[in-house]
């Protein structure tokens, strides 16, 4: 009878998700370091941000929200930010978070020896300057800027800056070299075997900002419900597929072209989501041929963008010809209006441009998870159909990036990494080409508007500027936005709670059945 009762009690546990399971996740590249925001790439940031947190972090829509801070107050003159820290937050070594840790972390980041990626974004070299940081009491941090800047919190929250993470001073060895990240994140650093794998384990003392079970960017509910997560470096997509099918891998990003096939497998589930990464066609406006605005407008009119997007993203992407990503609160009715496919108009514009069949070369790369080449192929065929002598030159990524930085191209099928704030989204490609050859849109009036957008806090004013800039980009065609990146993640059906977001493999609020 007792055994029967015990079995009855155990049954629900066996049937439902059991907490504290371990997962194996495939990643395509090893992390560059475990020093947040120093020697990094996107994958390195992703791993770091499971373990460390900043005062503010992005929510699902890419707006900075308090994270280690409970609240953020801005002074009337727009120059002083007062952060009140959340109480009860602990580091992985058990020490309680205080303003002294924030001060220590900030000073470390500002020290050139740290080689933090974002030092120049806060010391005035890129415009924004933090003049002083003070800790009047254990729960308060006051940061003073030299002038108002609407992007300050966004800059603090940037993932490539590792969210300006607050670390415990024991993260650094007595000789000043970095040891391991001792942060406040939901997972603790486990082990790193270079080129093979890296692991993290649940931080049992984690104080989640919310506990409602709803993931919200880097804020929201962030409970570490898995015992351990092992990130295994698997470069070959075919091997990833085999690993997922065999059950050796629990979760991985997959190629868009594999989505349909993997969806048919009974043990796996595929989830997809759009990201703020933007797939674009860059156009060199200083090129003898491409400098002709009528020709650029003809190119935009010759592209059936829905067809381009469907083919390049394996029917997973959505057309978006705006620099603003659809998840942004600034993506409104104006941003939805973009280039229109109109072959007759394209022909008319070509004639007006005086185009005489000059060759137009589109640069592309064949990185497996980037749709640069497939997009270029479809664009080439549509341009040829419109009478434009388009050709493709395939380069390796390093060479293409070099040509981008030097402005040495006619057209490129390119990806812009995610930028949430509209000011940064425009700044990414707009600017003076004489000073920065990588800039695509050299328009002094637009530049003025972008600078205003950077300092302005008023929401309605900002939206007005965003709308004007969007219209100008569509009219001048210095580049053509096509669609946003798509995350395609396959995972075992024993996993629940995983939600792809901005190519980040967030492991909080994820559970796995035994």
């Amino acid at each position: 009878m007792n055994r029967l009762l015990a079995s009855a009690c155990l049954l629900p546990l066996l049937a439902g998700p059991v907490l504290a399971q371990s997962l194996t996740v495939a990643v395509q590249a090893d992390v560059r370091s475990i020093n947040p925001g120093v020697n990094r790439d996107d994958g390195t940031d992703d791993f770091a941000l499971q373990m460390v947190e900043g005062l503010v972090g992005y929510d699902e829509g890419g707006t900075p929200q308090p994270l280690l801070a409970e609240k953020v107050a801005l002074s009337a003159d727009g120059k002083t930010y007062t952060f009140t820290l959340r109480k009860g937050v602990k580091f992985h070594n058990g020490a309680e978070l205080s303003s002294a840790d924030v001060l220590w972390s900030w000073n470390r980041y500002m020290d050139a020896k740290t080689e933090w990626r974002c030092t120049s974004d806060f010391d005035g070299r890129s415009g924004l300057k933090v003049e002083s940081v003070e800790a009047p009491d254990a729960q308060t941090i006051v940061m003073k800027l030299d002038k108002p800047n609407a992007l300050f919190l966004d800059s603090l929250a940037r993932t490539d800056c590792a969210m300006t993470a607050i670390l415990h001073k024991d993260s650094v060895k007595p000789d000043g070299t970095f040891d391991k990240p001792i942060g406040t994140g939901p997972y603790k650093f486990g082990e790193w075997k270079r080129s093979e794998y890296f692991t993290m384990t649940a931080f049992e003392g984690y104080a989640s900002p919310k506990t409602d079970g709803k993931a919200d960017g880097y804020v929201g509910s962030k409970r570490p419900l898995l015992k351990e997560v092992k990130f295994l470096v698997v470069k070959d997509p075919a091997t990833v597929k085999a690993g997922l099918t065999s059950g050796a891998l629990d979760l991985s990003e997959i190629l868009p072209s594999d989505v349909a096939e993997i969806r048919k497998l009974p043990t796996l589930e595929v989830v997809t989501a759009a990201t703020a990464v933007r797939q674009v066609l860059l156009i060199q406006t200083r090129d003898a041929v491409m400098g002709n605005q009528k020709l650029r407008q003809a190119i935009a009119a010759a592209l059936d963008m829905d067809e381009v997007v469907a083919a390049a993203s394996d029917n997973l992407g959505q057309t978006n010809t705006s620099p603003i990503h659809p998840g942004s609160s600034y993506f409104g009715a104006v941003e939805k209006q973009g280039h229109k496919f109109d072959p007759a108009r394209a022909k008319k514009l070509l004639a007006e441009a005086g185009y005489k069949g000059e060759k137009v070369v589109i640069l592309a790369n064949k990185r497996p998870r980037v749709p640069s080449f497939p997009a270029a192929v479809v664009v080439q065929s549509m341009l040829q159909a419109a009478g434009i002598n388009a050709d493709i030159e395939v380069l390796d990524w390093a060479t293409q990036l070099d040509r981008y930085n030097k402005g040495n191209y006619q057209m490129q099928s390119f990806s812009f990494s995610a930028r949430f704030d509209p000011a940064l989204a425009f700044e990414q490609f707009a600017g003076p080409k004489d000073k920065q050859p990588r800039k695509v849109w050299d328009n002094p009036q637009a530049q003025e508007k972008i600078e205003r957008l950077m300092s302005l806090s008023d929401r309605a004013e900002r939206q007005k500027l965003v709308d004007e800039l969007h219209k100008a980009v569509i009219d001048e065609v210095p580049l053509i936005f096509m669609f946003n990146g798509v995350d395609a993640i396959a995972h075992s059906k024993r996993i629940t709670g995983f939600k792809p977001w901005q190519s980040k493999l967030r492991m909080w609020e994820v559970t796995a059945a035994k």
Partner: protein
Amino acid sequence: MLRFALTRVAMALPTLLIVAVSVFVLIRLIPGDPASLMLGDLATPASIADLRARLGLDQSLFVQFGIWFGNLLKGDLGISINTQEPILPLILSRFWISAQIVLIAVFCASLVAVPAGVIAAWKQDSGLDLGLVTVATLLLSIPTFWLGLLLLLFFGLKLGWLPVVGYVSIGDDPWRGVLYLVMPILTLFLHEIGVLLRMARASTLEVLRLDYVTHARAKGLSEMAVLWRHAFKNAFGPTWTLIGLVLGNLLGGIAVVETVFTIPGLGRLLVDAIFARDYPVIQGCMLFVAFTYVLVNVVIDLCYPIFDPRVTAE
């Protein structure tokens, strides 16, 4: 013997110097910049310039080469731009992984392919010869990445006997370590059988046509004695040379097999370094591969007298 070996290694020094200079220059002629790659599409000219200065890439090529070559003479290959790891220990640890796979695969392939090649030559134009040549040609024609994937699907997915992804070092866990190495070894083993069998067959056929073999048969020696005592010893020379070339080649370049089976070997290190324009790692790997090639061929040369007494170290 020792003098011969030392002389051969010394003779390789100019080769290594040419490799060092040419790799240093060629990799810098390829467009692409490690600092730009590390900073990505958001880099500003100032941040790229800062990073280039920090990495020493802003100095002239002569100065960069001088620093690198000076350190090289002291046995220091430098530090990886990407991972900040010292390069020599990195290369040695990766080489050890690749070497395990290559040495075992080539050894086993030789054990199977050489006798099979001799037998195919002995039974020339028979059904057995045709079968062996067909299998060898087939194995030689299948690209290693595809063969690897087929094995992975069959042994990993269908039968579930072997692990599909990951790598465990034999030092950490001998049994699991061996399991992870079986499929990469099998892939190379099958491929190299094709290469070696054809060479063993061709060289044995050549020897079997010589007069002294006819003479041996005329003396009434058994076919086994003719084959193994007289024909094989002379016929093995070219195959042995090929084994050396294959070993030298594979020890520096099984990146494809390593990628399919997620093995962190030397080939993958080199390919990753090329894509990341990690100049010091590329230079270190290429120099190491060249040195290994020379060393393997010296060892092969030193072994010739064992098979053919007419060849001496002198």
